[in-house]
């Protein structure tokens, strides 16, 4: 396998999965938020509380966003399902007995459920009873979460494989429960679900703040801001706690990844927390390091003098700089989210409206969840290298031997062009929709179309 083809195949996989994850990261949580909006609307109507319409407005606006995000998630997900075969056939040959059923269960229990009930949720409001429509909304939310469950079970298994044995050169399952609930799975699932919550919360707060900063006094914009900010204020500290637990789990099972994340080259007791450095792989040391002494030992071992293993202790370890930096970006964005959401939540107290500065800051942070999610995934995925499945299958062993650099170059250029265009249009369309929500109604807007029963 020539080096160039391997590198291109890896870039292509990274491009495809980075593009894909942007959309499920929103829909998993946004689906539950839509259910919340719908239930609150119904409850407010039942009790005759004024302002019930704001919940309905909120639902109407965000269901349009949801449809768009969901479509992008579906089509980029189809690419993922082909990717294993076109570029990484070695993966399925070796661990197909584990990966296969987990992927199959995702398609069977989640994809069809989401796709079918999404249609009812989007276009069926007049064709089914309100109760069935609420049920459809709930099932879409269940579907998105189930999908996350299965795919994270597989991803976690690739980091911390369990419940299998090797017969010849092929992994066979000995215990399905151990495969699914492998050691890193609960932490990764919780971390990712909360990440989705934060991504959706900042999207919700961000677009609402954008509308308000432009002078909108719409009830649903204020309501959206409130829900988004409170949710973010709740989830940001939760995520920091979960991240810490996930880190301790990684220390136990993938110590080389932790050493790369922390930028610690030599094993030491009382390891420092490195705030800034340029890790140098040739020098095998950090340059321009700014560090707080002993702090890393404290949060990794809960002891000021705890021993932390450094990169030099491992015969093989991941490339340090990308892991080190993406980890810092993720943590940095996380802290920013904490500060922004708590400031906004404080300013919102007692029904107040936040100042322009906070509104602008939130609008700027509309897509901050994306940055944190991507940085977090790069930390964990690059951190697993050179393995595709920890200790079992190397990335270089799984790549297709019969697909040349030329072919991958063509497909990669095609994908990159498409992805860059679609992300640009997507972000532009979201802000356009937000502006449209407050635009005066156009007199000659198309008549309300509907589905008619033939019978």
């Amino acid at each position: 396998m020539p080096e160039a083809a391997l590198t291109l195949a890896r870039i292509q996989f990274a491009a495809n999965i980075s593009f894909h994850i942007l959309f499920p990261a929103i829909t998993v949580a946004l689906a539950w938020l839509l259910l919340l909006f719908k239930l609150r609307h119904r409850a407010a109507l039942r009790r005759g509380i004024p302002g019930a319409d704001a919940w309905a407005e909120l639902y109407r606006f965000w269901v349009r966003v949801f449809a768009l995000v969901f479509a992008l998630g579906v089509v980029s997900g189809v690419t993922m399902s082909f990717q294993f075969g076109t570029n990484w056939p070695g993966f399925m040959l070796k661990v197909g007995n584990i990966a296969g059923p987990l992927l199959a269960y995702e398609v069977l229990t989640a994809f069809f459920l989401e796709a079918t009930f999404l249609a009812i949720m989007l276009f069926g409001q007049r064709r089914v009873s309100n109760r069935v429509h609420t049920l459809a909304t709930a099932l879409v939310a269940v579907g998105t979460t189930l999908s996350a469950f299965w795919i994270l079970a597989l991803n976690s298994w690739m980091h911390t494989p369990a419940g299998y044995e090797l017969r010849g050169d092929v992994a066979h399952v000995t215990d399905w429960l151990a495969v699914i609930f492998n050691p890193s799975f609960p932490y990764r699932l919780a971390h990712m679900l909360v990440a989705s919550g934060l991504t959706a919360a900042f999207l919700l707060a961000g677009l609402s703040a954008y509308r308000m900063a432009r002078g909108s006094a719409a009830r649903d914009a204020q309501l959206g801001l409130r829900v988004g900010c409170y949710l973010a204020a709740l989830l940001a500290p939760t995520q920091i706690l979960l991240g810490d637990l996930h880190g301790l789990n990684t220390l136990a099972y993938e110590p080389a990844k932790i050493a790369a994340m922390e930028g610690i080259w030599a094993s030491q007791a009382g390891a420092p927390a490195v705030l800034f450095a340029l890790p140098d792989a040739e020098l095998r040391a950090n340059r321009y390091e700014i560090a707080i002494p002993r702090l890393a030992s404290l949060y990794l071992t809960h002891d000021w003098h705890g021993e932390v293993r450094g990169l030099n202790d491992f015969a093989e370890h991941p490339p340090v700089a990308p892991v080190f930096w993406s980890f810092r970006i993720m943590v940095g964005v996380g802290l920013l989210m904490l500060a922004a959401s708590w400031t906004a939540a404080w300013q919102l107290r007692g029904g107040r409206i936040p100042g322009r500065g906070v509104l602008r800051a939130l609008a700027t942070m509309t897509f901050s969840g994306w940055i944190a999610v991507i940085a977090g995934w790069y930390t964990t995925e690059v951190g697993r290298q050179p393995w595709l499945v920890s200790g079992l299958l190397r990335t270089a062993e799984a790549v297709a031997p019969n697909v040349g650099a030329g072919a991958i170059g063509v497909s990669l250029s095609l994908y990159l062009l498409l992805y860059a265009t679609l992300i640009t249009v997507f972000v532009a369309v979201l802000f356009y929709l937000a502006r449209q929500a407050d635009a005066p109604a156009v007199p000659d807007s198309p008549p309300r179309a509907r589905w008619r029963k033939a019978r």
Binding site: V75, I98, G100, V107, F112, A119, F123, V170, V403, V429
Partner: protein
């Protein structure tokens, strides 16, 4: 090539999964074929309102339709990993082009009604281009696959034929789901698309026995010839029936006789779907038991029996529910289509 013990799970589990995969692929080809077909026909619509109605007719379905592709390739991936790798690496570029096409059309669906109105036309073009690209690529993939990844020119011909076949399904769907002028227009589209479809089926039927002596022997040996004859015979009869029927529909409409279009609106789609099913059956018979022509059988490519069993239980438990709520969804959206709105 076939396991010796014909009662063991090693024998029947791969066979069951091959059957399930065939079902998923056929479901995909007919269901997504119809909405890819509508995309291919989009430029021939007479007005923006007609385009809205055409897209409205597939709006609630396309997403679930595409899921059958994920299931089909998913079963290939999980039940026959060796074949999955060999087939998809051999079809590398057509697969990449198909995916690009599917991405483009999937998002064009949503973008066209959410961007600024002056950009709507642009996304209509993207919807058409993506649908056509996906259909052509799928045809090319089929052409490569049946010839054992050899014949390039032939594969491109099949690409055009599959696009034509999808246009036939799409036109049939529109005859069923639309009214008035658009419905009449769709009858015309169906008549033209039928010839592409017939030519494609004829080409595959002629070429596959020629490139593979095994397939030749399978179809033209005396002891099975008569058992198999119904497949090509029914196909020919169906093409002729459809041609005559569509011509009558067009003629009646010219004479302002609306009875046919009201009473028999479902027939062109049903005919087209049956045509696809027959062609699929013939192809399956030619290829069985190979997943990669003359190189890899379904038993050679299968995953471990334990994994197949674990999946089968899941499929048996979940599939009836999937089929149930899919049918229910088609029922909810029964009737004539109109432009989409979230109400």
């Amino acid at each position: 090539m076939i396991p010796l013990d014909l009662t063991g799970a090693d024998f029947w589990l791969p066979l069951v999964f091959a059957g399930l995969m065939a079902f998923a692929i056929l479901a995909y080809v007919i269901l997504d074929g119809l909405d890819l077909g509508v995309g291919i026909l989009l430029p021939f619509a007479g007005s923006e309102a007609e385009r809205d109605t055409m897209i409205g007719s597939i709006g609630p379905f396309w997403d679930a339709n595409e899921t059958w592709l994920v299931l089909g390739v998913g079963i290939l991936l999980v039940a026959f990993p060796a074949a999955h790798g060999l087939i998809l690496t051999s079809l590398y570029l057509p697969v990449a082009l198909m995916l690009a096409g599917l991405i483009l059309r999937g998002v064009a669906f949503d973008f066209r009604v959410k961007v600024e109105p002056r950009r709507k036309r642009l996304w209509d073009h993207a919807f058409f281009a993506g649908s056509l690209l996906a259909a052509l690529s799928q045809g090319v993939m089929l052409g490569y696959w049946v010839t054992g990844f050899a014949a390039t020119g032939f594969a491109f011909g099949i690409g055009v034929a599959v696009a034509g076949g999808y246009a036939l399904l799409g036109a049939g769907w529109l005859v069923m789901k639309c009214e008035d002028e658009l419905q009449q227009r769709a009858v015309g589209w169906a008549r033209r698309a039928l010839w592409f479809t017939a030519a494609g089926i004829a080409a595959v039927s002629a070429v596959t026995p020629l490139v593979s002596p095994r397939i030749f022997a399978r179809w033209f040996s005396l002891d099975t010839l008569f058992a198999l004859l119904p497949i090509p015979l029914m196909t020919v009869v169906l093409v002729v029936l459809l041609a005559v029927f569509l011509a009558r529909l067009a003629e009646d409409t010219g004479n302002r006789n609306r009875f046919g279009l009201q009473r028999w609106a479902w027939a062109p789609f049903a005919g087209a779907a049956t045509l696809f099913a027959l062609a699929f059956l013939g192809l399956a018979h030619s290829m069985f038991p190979y997943l990669v022509p003359d190189r890899l059988t379904l038993w050679q490519a299968a995953s471990a029996t334990a994994s197949l069993r674990f999946m089968l239980w899941g499929i048996l438990a979940v599939m009836p529910a999937v089929l149930g709520y899919t049918a229910w969804s088609y029922r909810v959206f029964w009737g004539k289509a109109e432009p989409l709105s979230y109400h």
